[in-house]
């Protein structure tokens, strides 16, 4: 679409709120001034826009400023020239990475290999069991003798172990076809394995809990004034509670944001999370959604706000349609916005673009 002078004046009237005559007058003045300066052999710079001057062949030329250039080319922001070397030493760099990854592969392989459903618990869980027992055995074995004395948990663990083998024996003796017996044995074995795993897990967490509790109590007794040991038991005990904590935290944050601004939270002017800052509205924002409909945009914005993001909703006219863009974060520079996209969850981290913040 081409914007001619008439349309431009219209837009400027809308933007500035000035009279049409005034805008036309100003526009003429601006053009005259640019030409004037250029004719006198000077360059006229409009700050944040660019430089006008006459080149050697006496043609009016415009050099866009860096700000304008980056904004026009925002899609490719952060892309830099890449040198191609015929021989690449860097090709060796990925190897250690893949070497690290290969340690992960053996763990996932057993799961993929298993085709038969009854095998799955065996193959996928056995390594876990081995791992757990490896980790815990040292702890457990040392503690087992102590625990044997207590044996509230270990008795529970032992009882089902005893019961299930007896069931196994009965089924073995029953006159059934070998196939079904095999299936039953496999399933029973799987159940036992799971049971053992579960009890092993309880052992493990139990021992961890007692470890951390005892570990936490002694420093707390010794140094009651030091805040650090008080935090460590919380940290150590949280693993099971973490899901709840994560759900609670954002809610608290948003409540604070909704109710009373941020009296306690000291927030930087620019950033991805937190509350919108008016001072940061001269920056950039990451657009993650675009809607034809304001209501959808607002509800999505509310969801994102609930997750703790700074959310902006803005309407733009794109080829005669109005779109409602939902964007997150306020960033001073285009570059910082591009970097922040890496912090976003999927699919936002790849599906986004950056726009200049505008207050409509």
């Amino acid at each position: 679409m081409k914007i001619d002078k008439e349309k431009l004046v219209e837009m400027l009237v809308e933007k500035t709120g000035m009279e049409k005559d005034e805008v036309e007058n100003q526009l003429l003045q601006l053009i005259d001034r640019i030409k004037d300066a250029a004719e006198r052999g000077k360059a006229l710079e409009i700050k944040g826009f660019g430089l006008f001057y006459f080149d050697e062949s006496n043609k009016l030329t415009f050099d866009p400023s860096e700000e304008l250039s980056t904004e026009i080319s925002f899609k490719y922001a952060g892309m830099k020239p890449v040198e191609i070397n015929p021989e690449r030493d860097t090709s060796f760099v990925p190897d250690p990475v893949s070497g690290e990854k290969s340690t992960d592969k053996p763990e996932s392989k057993p799961e993929r290999v298993s085709i038969f459903a009854p095998d799955e618990p065996f193959r996928s869980e056995k390594p876990e069991k081995e791992k757990k027992s490896d980790k815990t055995e040292k702890v457990e074995k040392s503690k087992k003798s102590e625990k044997a004395a207590k044996t509230q948990v270990s008795e529970k663990a032992a009882q089902p172990k005893k019961k299930k083998p007896s069931v196994k024996k009965k089924k073995k003796s029953s006159p059934k076809s070998s196939d079904s017996i095999n299936n039953i044995i496999i399933s029973i074995a799987a159940v036992i394995l799971i049971a053992v795993l579960i009890f092993g897990y309880f052992y493990y967490t139990d021992s961890v809990d007692t470890m951390t509790q005892t570990g936490a109590e002694s420093p707390a007794q010794l140094q009651t004034l030091d805040p650090v040991p008080e935090e460590t038991p919380e940290m150590a005990e949280t693993p099971e509670v973490i899901p709840e904590m994560e759900q609670v935290d954002p809610a608290e944050v948003t409540e604070e944001a909704d109710d009373a601004g941020q009296p306690e939270v000291v927030q930087t002017t620019y950033g991805l999370m937190g509350d919108l800052m008016e001072d940061a509205n001269d920056g950039y924002s990451i657009v993650v959604h675009s809607f034809n409909d304001e209501i959808n945009a607002r509800s999505t914005a509310a969801e994102l706000n609930g997750d703790g993001y700074r959310v902006l909703v803005s309407s733009r006219s794109v080829s005669a349609d109005t779109v409602w863009r939902v964007s997150v974060g306020q960033f001073q520079t285009l570059q910082s916005a591009v970097e922040a996209t890496n912090e976003l969850p999927s699919p936002y981290n790849t599906q986004n673009f950056i726009q200049r913040i505008q207050i409509n």
């Binding site: 081409k2 002078k5 250039s69 726009q355």
Partner: protein, 69 residues
């Protein structure tokens, strides 16, 4: 000259250019955006560099010449 006007002028032109629109001012020139594809650049010293794609602002002056577009 009005500061507010200059500011609005910059914003409007920039927005239109971002939206891939041309802005034409009779007796002055046309602002437009051109896309430059990714390309390889060969230096005299043998270095080969891949330049990323960009969108660039181009300004075609039409001062004193009749409007061709």
């Amino acid at each position: 000259m009005n500061k507010e006007f200059v500011h609005a002028f910059k914003e409007v032109i920039r927005d239109q250019l971002v939206g891939k629109n041309k802005v034409e001012l009779e007796g002055f020139g046309i602002f437009a955006v051109e896309h430059r594809e990714q390309h390889q650049k060969k230096y005299d010293n043998g270095r080969v560099v891949v330049m990323p794609p960009t969108d660039v602002v181009v300004f075609k002056s039409n001062t004193g010449t009749p409007d061709e577009n």
